[in-house]
């Protein structure tokens, strides 16, 4: 598709008082995904990531009996394959030459803006679709109330206090059994699940959520729930017990659901990853035959939920 003078006749004559160039004057949001995702680089056609669970708890060694031998447990593999994203624009020599306002010469800026949207949307869809199609290393959806543990049902038998947390033996949730809207009680439920978090062999581990990830529509509610000195929505003197959880919130402008909400640990504790294979490279050339100008941008990246630990989600009700 070429851009030619006939499509932009008003750029060919002086006299326009003002031209509102959206890609210059409507400011895009700062990149949001780097606040959520661990941004890495990769150097090959794909990255594979593995998982291992440790050894079981130490059992009794009875008198004169041998110690108990055990093994570590190898989990599955998750593969990240970068895709190439590219966009280009071609404008006739005459259009570039006759544009009286320099608008056409700024098309590469618009291409950069296009890149930026795609760079944001792909990782955010890991979260948006984490209840349905996006799967983590254990082969089930990223947000799931029954993530199978590598140690199996035995580990949830001895892991302390999981009875009220899990929905099935041998699993651990990072999603409510029944999705719930953002609320005081729902945040309590979420923090309780994090407090009871165990590893693949049922040993309690530290995963403390630091931030809620919410759609713009939930920002007022989040302020009330996390900022009120008293218990939100009550006329009693109870303190707001959520304040002690030291939770912040982030508004995600690329979240697609107004009711879904999420909780994240600090980035070093979770495994949502954005992997650059090649950052955007802009190039341009003149076509020898037509003297048309071509601008092109290519980038390669992927996003992957390498593991489900450290993130939590509820898909509204």
């Amino acid at each position: 598709m070429s851009m030619v003078t006939g499509q932009y006749a008003q750029l060919l004559a002086k006299g326009q008082r003002k031209i509102f160039v959206q890609w210059n004057e409507m400011y895009q949001r700062d990149l949001e995904y780097p606040q959520v995702f661990n941004v890495e680089t990769m150097t090959s056609a794909y990255d594979d990531e593995l998982e291992f669970a440790g050894t079981q708890p130490t059992p009794i060694k009875f008198e004169n009996q041998s110690v108990f031998y055990t093994t570590i447990i190898q989990g599955g593999t998750i593969r990240a394959i970068p895709l190439t994203y590219g966009i280009a624009a071609r404008m006739s020599f005459e259009l570039v030459d006759d544009d009286q306002y320099g608008i056409i010469k700024q098309v590469p800026k618009a291409l950069s803006r296009s890149n930026r949207f795609t760079e944001e949307m792909v990782p955010w869809n890991i979260i948006n679709l984490g209840f349905s199609t996006v799967k983590s290393i254990d082969g089930v959806t990223l947000f799931n109330n029954q993530h199978p543990l590598l140690g199996g049902p035995a580990v949830t038998n001895y892991a302390p206090g999981l009875g009220n947390i899990i929905s099935a033996a041998g699993t651990f949730p990072n999603r409510p059994a029944v999705d719930v809207d953002l609320s005081f009680a729902a945040i309590q439920l979420m923090t309780n699940q994090f407090e009871r978090m165990v590893d693949g062999v049922g040993m309690p581990v530290v995963y403390k959520p630091k931030s809620l990830l919410i759609a713009p529509a939930n920002r007022f509610l989040a302020r009330e729930l996390l900022g009120s000195p008293g218990k939100p929505g009550t006329a009693t003197n109870e303190i707001n017990s959520l304040l002690g959880e030291d939770l912040g919130y982030m508004v995600g402008h690329y979240l697609t659901s107004d009711t879904a909400w999420f909780a994240l640990c600090d980035k070093q504790y979770h495994h949502l990853k954005f992997k650059w294979r090649q950052k955007a490279v802009m190039d341009m050339n003149d076509d020898f035959d037509t003297n048309a100008v071509k601008h092109k941008s290519i980038m390669r990246f992927t996003a992957v939920p390498a593991n489900w630990v450290g993130v939590w989600g509820s898909n509204g009700p």
């Binding site: 989990g75 599955g76 990240a80 895709l83 869809n125 082969g139 199978p148 140690g151």
Partner: protein
């Protein structure tokens, strides 16, 4: 009756008339496909499968540039807009992951699978090459006199397709038209020839 040769070279692109890069597409792959590189392929309800060998009118989308991946479901892993390649990213796994029935072990070096197949599109620009043979078992030696003649394609016992000189009934069993002899093979028995798909056989005329 079998062809004279049991195995043939695969269909491949040799050049384009325009001099441009050959036109390709990357449609989602139909589940359970096991065709090999160089197989004529067709779209069926939007997903790609091996050509059925019978549909000669609007039946061939192009030639597969890679082997099929025997996907468990149509387009498994195919990246929808603004999404990465889906789990598991390969068709090659081994063993089982304890207590995680849906997880996979991927051996190092397993080919990446994106749920799609790259296809060299059958169009009026791309020139392909394939070996000649005859499904009656008769000897086949193409000559320059065969240029412009329409032929059919037949699959051999090894999954490779050849230009079948026994199929010459236009509208019934022909899908390609000979463009020239292969400049290396020349006019020898079972030589490779250069051909284009006929306009009638093209599933989508581009």
């Amino acid at each position: 009756m079998a062809s004279l040769l049991a195995n043939h070279t695969e269909l491949e692109v040799v050049r384009t008339k325009s001099g441009n890069t050959e036109e390709t597409d990357s449609p989602a792959e139909k589940a359970g496909q096991s065709f090999v590189k160089g197989t004529p392929v067709q779209l069926n309800a939007g997903v790609l499968q091996a050509w059925d060998g019978a549909t000669v009118n609007a039946g061939i989308y192009g030639v597969a540039a890679e082997d099929a991946h025997n996907l468990a479901s149509d387009g498994l892993g195919f990246p929808i807009p603004f999404n990465p390649v889906g789990f598991p990213g390969t068709g090659t796994t081994f063993g089982k992951v304890p207590f995680q029935a849906s997880a996979v072990n991927i051996p190092e070096g397993a080919p990446p699978v994106k749920g799609l197949v790259v296809v060299f599109i059958a169009n009026l620009d791309t020139v392909f090459r394939a070996q000649t043979d005859n499904n009656t078992g008769a000897a086949t030696t193409p000559t320059r006199a065969n240029r412009g003649t329409a032929y059919g394609l037949t699959i051999d016992a090894n999954g490779h397709w050849y230009v079948d000189f026994a199929k010459t009934t236009v509208g019934t069993n022909t899908v390609v038209e000979m463009v020239d002899l292969d400049p290396i093979d020349g006019s020898v028995a079972n030589a490779r020839i250069l051909f284009q798909f006929t306009k009638a056989a093209m599933q989508i005329v581009l």
